[in-house]
Assembly symmetry: C2
Homo-oligomer: 243 residues x 2
């Protein structure tokens, strides 16, 4: 039913503002601005797939979330980012993981979606992904760009234990009736080098079809192991999610 438009975003990083009222208020205000701006764009006919990527890019740039700047730190003290996007209308899906230099992983996967040729990459990992971002003229940053004082000091304090993770994401239904989902994350603190989480994997952290879009986060070891449980999808099929 075209015309019913909406957006849902998530930034699974509640730990970053627990006990910090100013940070909580600032983050809430920022999120409200993001949502208002998106709702306005939807009213002007913006497409779900474009808006999902645009909103997640804003969340990547905001350092309170575990995606883009502010990402979790891996076991070596570096940053490896991942993002995925799926378009319900076309079933288009793209993912990139273990990125170390691509400023906005979500912009990379959105751009990958436009290449539908026979040699198009659907899922790309590591330096190959960063090189593709360069070729697509996307912003490239030194790995330390992703660092924030709070993440780095946490890493230094708690290097011996594994904790805290999250991601950001958005699901959008546009005024044309299309839905889309987009996810981005820095993974889990102290994750092993090369670790791929569930965030960017279709059927694990992401799902969309003609009627429903899901951007999920969970213990990274749970979703990628089992995919989205079919009963869950069954409950939401028929457009229940947005109706």
């Amino acid at each position: 039913m075209p015309g019913l438009a909406g957006i849902v975003i998530h930034g699974g990083a509640s730990e970053s503002w627990i006990g910090d009222k100013k940070r909580y208020d600032d983050t809430t205000a920022f999120l409200q601005t993001v949502v208002s701006s998106a709702e306005s764009a939807l009213g002007h006919g913006a497409l779900a797939i474009d808006l999902a990527a645009e909103v997640v890019a804003k969340l990547e740039d905001y350092p309170a979330f575990n995606a883009g700047r502010g990402s979790a730190v891996n076991i070596d003290g570096n940053f490896e980012l991942e993002a995925g996007i799926v378009c319900g209308a076309t079933s288009g899906y793209r993912a990139a993981v273990c990125l170390q230099a691509t400023k906005n992983p979500i912009k990379l996967v959105r751009a990958m979606l436009d290449d539908t040729g026979p040699s198009a990459s659907v899922f790309i990992a590591g330096a190959g992904g960063d090189d593709l971002a360069k070729r697509l003229a996307l912003d490239i940053v030194p790995n330390c760009y992703f660092a924030t004082e709070s993440r780095t000091s946490y890493w230094q304090r708690k290097r011996a234990e594994i904790s805290e993770h999250g991601t950001v994401g958005a699901v959008v239904r546009d005024s044309h009736g299309n839905v889309a989902a987009a996810n981005s994350t820095g993974g889990m603190m102290f994750k092993p080098v090369g670790r791929v989480g569930d965030t960017a994997v279709l059927g694990s952290g992401l799902y969309a079809d003609k009627r429903v879009a899901i951007a999920w986060y969970e213990d990274d070891l749970a979703l990628i192991r089992c995919g989205l449980p079919s009963p869950f999808l069954g409950r939401f099929s028929g457009g229940a999610c947005f109706n």
Copy 2:
């Protein structure tokens, strides 16, 4: 229904023996030996998950298939391998992609399955995967180990065009009623650096639950885009695959 045991293997590399009778006969004889040996092990109570990995490791070592030795060559003339495994009984799933030095990717994912701790890697990419294989004392080889004369000369002849891909895999049902699936591939000739295919991704190239195991290969851009179509799985649920 425990007691009904069986194995199905695939080596999606038919192009390697077209027009070469000796190679065809040798490969067929090799496959028959692999299957006979596996059937004998099943009769002695071997577990589906162990046998799936063991059989795929043999296929990786045999150079006629696009997995392990004999893998497809990427755009840079190097080899990046991937493998995945899923155990129907436990829903255990592990994957490794963009490996450049791990002699048997399937042995890496089988070994990963035994680590169920909170920091266990479920899905690992690139050098991090090769490093994990080293730590697990698996065989490490120089990247050129994966080269065969036929693949390399094909790459040299046809560098400008993209063609030929495949994978190897096995689905096994053991005498205890457990099923398992395992897949391994070198990906697609001339693939971009860092490209991840569908072979190792749960719900794309691989699936198993308590009753059905699927190891699939297809145009790599098709399965990872859409996952296994639910209607397909629906048709096989209830154990139809092995009954």
